[in-house]
Structures are given as C-alpha cells and as structure tokens.
Symmetry: C2
Subunit: 206 residues, 2 copies
C-alpha cells in the first residue's frame, strides 16, 4: 500500500489509518474524498483537529472538557449546582447531556478504580470531588459509573467517604431498556429491574 505515486497522499493515508477503526483501505477512501473537497473545507477539518487538541482544557472544577478555566456546565447559572453527577469520562457527560433530562452539574473522575491495572483513587479526580462536597453547598451526588466490578468498587469507595457528610447519594437506575423485550434482557438486569420496581404513578409522571 506504500507504492502510491504521491508521497503527500501516502502520508495522509498513513496518518488517517492510525485512527481507531480506520484501516488502510478506509483511510485511502477518506483521503481521496478529501482531495475532491474544496481546499477550504480540508483546512477547516485539519485546523479544527489541531485547535481542539491544543486549546481545549479540562474544567478546573469538574474536569470536564472545556474551552476555558470552567466548563459551560459549571459556568451556567441555569444549572442546579447543588446536584453533582459523578461519571467516568467526558463521553458520559456528553451522553447524559444529550438526554436533556439532567439539570445538575458533573464531576468527571477520568477513570475508575482498577487495582488490576494499578489505578487507585489517587490517580483519579476523587479527592477533588470530596473537596467540592466540603466547599460547595451540595445536596445530592448521583453515581453514574459503569456496572462493572471496578465501577462498583469506585461507587463504594466514594459512598464510604461521603456518607457521613452527605445525606443523599443516589445511583442511576438500571433496568430493561425502553423498547426491549423481556425475554431478550439478561437475567441480572431483569432481576434488578424487578427488585427496584417503582410505583406506577411515578412511572406515569415521567
């Protein structure tokens, strides 16, 4: 694949194929597509990637991705700053924001406690979460970590440290996905959704 008659095309293909999920063939297809696009479009693409990498920061309060010292969520006066949703990564923030159902703020841990991989509490933004509970007027912490052993460990670690100073520590509900059929739902999820059943009135009002 390195026999291409243009070294410039070749190096673009090489760089594109370093992206996850993009092999040599897709990279070539993308590069040839870009050759046909207006030069200004390609500059927009290239520069937006470089600018994003060089200029984005992480919010010094919640560690979410940000264009300034504080992210837009932390800066917004419309959000409920007394509710913190604890997530693993910025992807999770984006996923929750896209639901349009959450009005509180976030705290991005930047990972979860994984002793097998040598990741302990000190490697994550956990201490700064505890500090926020002390400094800010927080009424509720919502745990939205993955349902893995590591996620549960992290949940428990945070719960143990916060339960004395904070009354309301909740976790997002797990259950049968909307639109999914019961018979195809895994047993653990289905079991939990029965244990954590809700009054029908609550369900109707949502």
């Amino acid at each position: 694949m390195n026999n291409v008659s243009s070294k410039l095309l070749d190096s673009a293909v090489t760089e594109l194929s370093k992206l996850p999920g993009i092999g040599k063939k897709s990279a070539l297809r993308l590069a040839i597509h870009l050759l046909r696009r207006d030069a200004i479009d390609v500059e927009l693409l290239g520069n937006s990637l470089i600018k994003m990498r060089n200029e984005t920061q992480f919010c010094k309060r919640c560690h979410n991705i940000s264009d300034g010292e504080l992210c837009e969520v932390c800066r917004s006066p419309k959000r409920e700053h007394s509710t913190i949703c604890v997530v693993e990564n910025i992807n999770d923030v984006i996923a929750i924001e896209n639901t349009g159902q959450y009005q509180g703020v976030y705290h991005v841990l930047g990972g979860i406690i994984a002793p097998m991989e040598g990741i302990g509490p000190a490697d994550l933004h956990i201490e700064s979460l505890f500090q926020r509970i002390k400094d800010e007027d927080i009424k509720e912490v919502i745990m939205a970590l993955p349902t893995t052993v590591e996620g549960d460990t992290t949940n428990f670690y945070i719960y143990r440290n916060l339960s004395k100073s904070l009354n309301k520590i909740t976790t997002i509900s797990r259950g049968v996905s909307i639109g999914n059929e019961l018979e195809y739902t895994d047993e653990i999820t289905l079991g939990r959704s029965i244990l954590n059943r809700l009054p029908y009135e609550d369900y109707m009002n949502k």
Copy 2:
C-alpha cells in the same frame, strides 16, 4: 449533539462527521481519541491532510495524482512506457499498483462517459490519451474500466478512435475470483469466464 461543553470539540466533531461513512457518534469517538493522543500526532494528522489537499497536483501526462509535474510512474525509467493502462480514477491506479503485476504506465480518465449524467468525452482526459498515442511510442493500450454500460460505452469510444492507429488494444480479464466457488458466482461472470477460457499452460505459468 451540539450541547457539548467545548465549542472546539464540537467543531472538530462537526468537521469529522462530514467525512463519508462517519456519523456524529463515530466522529465524537474519533475526536475523544485525538484528545488523548500527543499534540504532535494530531498536528501531523491535521497538517498532512491540509498539505495533501493543497500541494498534490495531477500528473500532466497521465493525470494520476502526483507531487510534481510528472507522477512517479511516468518519471520512472523502470516502467514500460510503451504500455498504457486506461483507468477511471486514481483509486484504480492504486489498486493495480498494489497487485505488483503491472509494469507499464497509466492514463487516468477522471471518470467515464455517462450521457445520463451529462458527462461526455470532452469532460474527461480522453483527448490527451489520443494525443499520447500520436506523440509517444505506444505499443499496447489496456482498458481497465468498470463493467457497466458507461464503462462499455467509454471502452467502445476509445477503441473506435484508436483501432486504426494502434494494433494492440486489450482489456483486463473478467472471471471467477480466485478462492470463490462457482455456485456463488453470478451467471454473467461465470459465462464470460467460460467463453474467455485460457490454455491451461498459460494459467500454470502465471
């Protein structure tokens, strides 16, 4: 999806999702991947795309993609400059180069004759092909266009114009793909592969 807390990330996602086959979710995944890569890697990627778009040219002889006036194939003294392979696009050049089986040079039409889409011979690099046959010492023209009505039309148009001045006009062979089973091969391909059967000695020597 536009509620991301960083406008820089948002614009990178928007630009990435303009690429063919990349939706908003994949674009976000790629952008977050790039955020985690070294800044120098992202600059390499961005700049290689911009440089490719701005600095590649098309070979003035064969219209293949090129870093200079003439492409590497046309410049190479190792190639047989008396054999021209006529292809639709630069993708086809790359595909044939990757086989390592072709030692001649190319002529890239930049499309095929498609009256339904208003593409006639004058819109393609066909006249310059005829000029090459006159100017250069060409012994064989190999047609490697798609097996569509448009491809056949283009083949015939070129054949009609060249058959008087050139003895050897060939076309790449069509047949059952190597490794494919006969029963799953479409009838037209299988039919052609019987009509165009080869002496077994020829097959063995390749």
